[in-house]
Structure formats: structure tokens, C-alpha cells
């Protein structure tokens, strides 16, 4: 195992992580919002995961002190305006997502990353289903099954998200300890 690049592997369960910096949380949330508003077309548009949902989920699990139901709700409102959707559509989905994350967080963290991804897929599909229910109830047409693809892509990206968002919390190893 290389000691030069220990950080690109997921953290060991016995590795002690440094506390999360609130500024970093805010920055990543802003970056996720930014990614959601990128102009895409064609396949990119069909596959595009909801970066904001995955990032919120991560922080709700890892840093519940800073990101919880309230923050998720506010970010949802921003997304509603950005997408021109009905007010409250994303807000409702993110609220439920944040609550589920807070409920399952101690459990989810015990699994290896790919098993976490399966659980994340279930959560994201559930939230997409909730939005679907609300919209179809409100008279929107039934979308095709590809509607759920972004949720699955989001779950596939979960390991990458976890490793990247964990980087600043990994303890710095000085050369003396090597």
C-alpha cells in the first residue's frame, strides 16, 4: 500500500477524521448547486444526477451538526427557482432525504462504500418517487421510466463523492510518521 497517496482510498473505520469545516460544507453545497445548473443536452441531460441531493445526503450523514432538514429545505427552494419547477417540489424531496439520512446515518456508515451506494440508490429513488407522486397528483403527465436514471447515476457516484468530500478531513501524515 502506498503511503504517498493514502487519501484516495476510502478512510478506514478506525481512522480518526478531523472535524468538518463549515466553510467547506458551504463551498461544496454551492459547487453542487452550480453543477445542477450546468447547461447540458442530449445524453448528458438524461444521465445527469442531482449533485445537490447527493452532496446534501453526504453531509447529512457526515456532518449533521451543520446540515440537516432545514438546510436541505432551503437548498430545495433554490433548486425550485433555478429549474422553474413548482415551489416546494425539490424542497419536499430534500427535506425527506435529509430526514432519512439523519435516521439511517449510524447504520449506513458501518457498510463498505459500494453497499452504502445501494442504500443511497434506494433513498434517491424513493425521493424521486415522492416527487413523481406529488406531480402526477397535481396533474402532470406520467414521465417515462428513464425518470429514475438520474437517481441511479447519483448512487453510482456515491463512492466518488464520499472519497472526495472526505479528503479535507483526512489527517495529514507528516513525513516523520512514515
Amino acid at each position: 500500500m502506498s503511503f504517498r497517496l493514502p487519501s484516495l482510498a476510502p478512510a478506514d473505520s478506525n481512522e480518526v477524521l478531523r472535524p468538518v469545516k463549515p466553510l467547506f460544507v458551504a463551498l461544496t453545497l454551492a459547487a453542487a448547486l452550480f453543477s445542477n445548473l450546468l447547461p447540458l443536452a442530449g445524453t448528458g441531460l438524461a444521465l445527469r444526477p442531482d449533485f445537490l441531493a447527493v452532496t446534501l445526503l453526504y453531509w447529512c450523514i457526515q456532518a449533521p451538526r451543520y446540515v440537516g432538514v432545514g438546510v436541505a429545505w432551503a437548498m430545495g427552494l433554490l433548486m425550485d427557482v433555478g429549474d422553474g419547477t413548482l415551489f416546494g417540489q425539490h424542497a419536499l424531496a430534500y427535506t425527506v432525504l435529509a430526514y432519512a439520512a439523519e435516521y439511517f446515518r449510524r447504520r449506513v456508515l458501518r457498510f463498505p462504500l459500494w453497499q452504502q451506494a445501494v442504500q443511497v440508490a434506494a433513498l434517491l429513488v424513493f425521493c424521486a418517487g415522492l416527487v413523481l407522486f406529488v406531480r402526477v397528483f397535481g396533474g402532470a403527465p406520467m414521465p417515462r421510466l428513464t425518470y429514475f436514471v438520474p437517481a441511479l447515476v447519483g448512487a453510482l457516484l456515491w463512492p466518488a463523492f464520499s472519497v472526495l468530500l472526505q479528503l479535507p478531513q483526512r489527517p495529514v501524515r507528516s513525513s516523520a510518521t512514515l
Partner: protein, 308 residues
């Protein structure tokens, strides 16, 4: 025996209301917002305020694409540029011939109209806009473009590209505007067949589905490949702009209406450079709507139709 960790950790630190209480609170607020927005559209002011917060992010998100395009332009081969130039010149020549005829036609038309004392057409101004991003929502077909009220873009204005109608501005913010595309489920546009002038109403059908002509009798004179142009009856879209071509016609005389699907001719899903047309016809002031006035007394009927 494995001893389980206690599920409920004692609350050593006061952290405000429990997550469940927050879920119920924010969930109910969201549902209330959904209801208010879908039913009554009370929240446009709130939307405008949130839009101000979001605006820098919207602008920034358009940057990577612009940079990539710039880099692409820089490395574009000379040959590709020459070919494009050639194609554009040819197109210019074609449209030039049409435009020369159009000037005389417009003049004649003007004279005839003044004879008939119809309402004068306003000089239709146009604003060139660029698509910032496409909406992510699977339930509607929307674009956000880079000019808003400050550039004179008004809600209700028609949006076109070089080939035909793309959609309509449905919501404006100070610096950006939302365009609902022809393919949106709530978008309806009055059209006529260019070949024989038969009037029709074209309605979008949502993502991934072809728009259709509604309420056409099974015996109507419609053929696959016919061009649909705007009829201008609604005063929103200028007359005679290309909208779509008939893709399929299913006639079943047992049914009340024929099932006709169409393919938009404009780059609804691909154009990045669009033109917002100012309203071309001076409309008389909107009369007091008796239905609306009644609806004000009866709650639950105040929803107004969008588009068309």
C-alpha cells in the same frame, strides 16, 4: 450475546427540535407551498427574491460551456470554418431572394390592411438571447435564457430560432427569463396548415413525446409532411412563422378526432441562439373576465392557463 448500542443517545447537548419534528414542519411547509404555487400562483414575488440569490450561480454555471466553446473555436479547422461560411452564404442568398419579395408583399399587405382598417402591426423588435441552461425537471420542458426584464424581455413573447418557433417566455426575472418550449405539456399554440390554411391547435405532450394537433376531425385534409405555421389568432405569435411538420396521421372514423402528431421544425431541443420577438399586434385592453370574477367568489377555480 452481542450487546446492542443504545439506539437513543441521551441528549447531552440541546440541539433544537428533533429531526422528526423538523421533517413534519418543513414537509408541511413544502406541501403548502406546492399547493399555493400550483393552484393560485401567489408566490411569484417570493420566486423573484430567491432568484436574486441564485443569479450569480446561474451565471457562473454558464461559464464552463462558454470557455469550452471558445477553446473549440480556437482550434476549429480552417476547412470546417470555410465550409460553414459557404453554407451560411448559400442560406443568406436563399433568404435574400425571399426577403426582397417580402418587402413588396409587406407594402401591399399594409395598403390592403389600411383599406380594411384592421389594427396596425407594431414594428416587431427582437432580442437575441443565449440559452443558459435547460431545466432538469422531467415534468416540464423549460429553458433559462440570459436576458430578462432589463433587456425588455416580457412574459408572453414568442421565442424563435432560425428555423421556426421554439416556445414562449413564461416568466421573467431581472436578468434571466424562463422559456416554455413547444413540447411542454401545458404549451398550446394556434397554427394553420400552410398548404390549405386549415386552422388547428397544437399542444405539447411532455418530455419525449411528440406534440399533437388537437380536435381535428378524422376527415380533415391533413397529410404527412405538411408544414404548420402560426395563424396569429392569439396575438402572441406573429403570423406565418414555421412551427412543425406533420409526422403521423391516424384516422379512425369511429373516434371523434384524428390522432395527429407533429415534429417541431425549430431547434426546440438543440438551438442555443434564440430570438425573443416583441408582441407584433397591438392588443386591445383585456376585458373583465366574467369567469374570473366568479372564480374569485368560489375558491379553487382561480387557476389560469399558461401558454397559447
Amino acid at each position: 450475546m452481542v450487546s446492542h448500542l443504545p439506539v437513543d443517545t441521551p441528549a447531552f447537548f440541546h440541539r433544537g427540535p428533533s429531526p422528526a419534528a423538523r421533517l413534519v414542519f418543513f414537509g408541511l411547509v413544502s406541501i403548502a407551498l406546492l399547493f399555493l404555487d400550483a393552484r393560485y400562483r401567489y408566490l411569484e414575488q417570493v420566486r423573484q427574491v430567491v432568484a436574486v440569490v441564485l443569479h450569480p450561480v446561474q451565471r457562473a454555471a454558464a461559464l464552463p460551456g462558454a470557455v469550452l466553446a471558445g477553446v473549440g473555436d480556437y482550434f476549429a479547422s480552417k476547412q470546417a470554418l470555410a465550409e460553414e461560411n459557404e453554407a451560411l452564404k448559400q442560406r443568406l442568398a436563399e433568404t435574400g431572394v425571399k426577403a426582397q419579395g417580402a418587402a413588396t408583399l409587406a407594402q401591399e399587405n399594409e395598403q390592403l390592411k389600411s383599406l380594411l382598417e384592421t389594427r396596425a402591426r407594431l414594428d416587431s423588435g427582437a432580442t437575441a438571447v443565449t440559452v443558459l441552461y435547460t431545466g432538469r425537471d422531467a415534468f416540464q420542458q423549460k429553458l433559462v435564457v440570459d436576458k430578462g426584464r432589463d433587456a425588455g424581455v416580457a412574459a408572453g413573447a414568442a421565442v424563435v430560432d432560425a428555423d421556426g418557433i421554439v416556445g414562449q417566455v413564461t416568466r421573467t426575472y431581472p436578468y434571466v427569463a424562463e422559456v416554455t418550449l413547444l413540447t411542454d405539456k401545458d404549451h398550446v399554440i394556434p397554427v394553420k396548415l400552410e398548404r390549405n390554411g386549415v386552422r388547428a391547435v397544437m399542444a405539447g405532450a411532455g418530455a419525449g413525446r411528440a406534440p399533437e394537433l388537437r380536435f381535428m376531425s378524422p376527415t380533415a385534409d391533413v397529410r404527412v409532411g405538411d408544414l404548420l405555421v402560426t395563424s396569429g389568432l392569439d396575438g402572441t405569435y406573429p403570423q406565418g412563422l414555421a412551427v412543425a411538420r406533420i409526422a403521423t396521421v391516424e384516422r379512425d372514423t369511429g373516434q371523434m378526432f384524428a390522432r395527429i402528431t407533429v415534429t417541431p421544425v425549430g431547434g426546440v431541443d438543440r438551438s442555443e441562439q434564440l430570438l425573443v420577438l416583441a408582441r407584433s399586434v397591438a392588443l386591445p385592453p383585456r376585458p373583465e373576465d366574467p369567469v374570473e370574477a366568479e372564480a374569485a367568489k368560489k375558491p379553487g377555480r382561480g387557476r389560469t392557463a399558461r401558454g397559447g
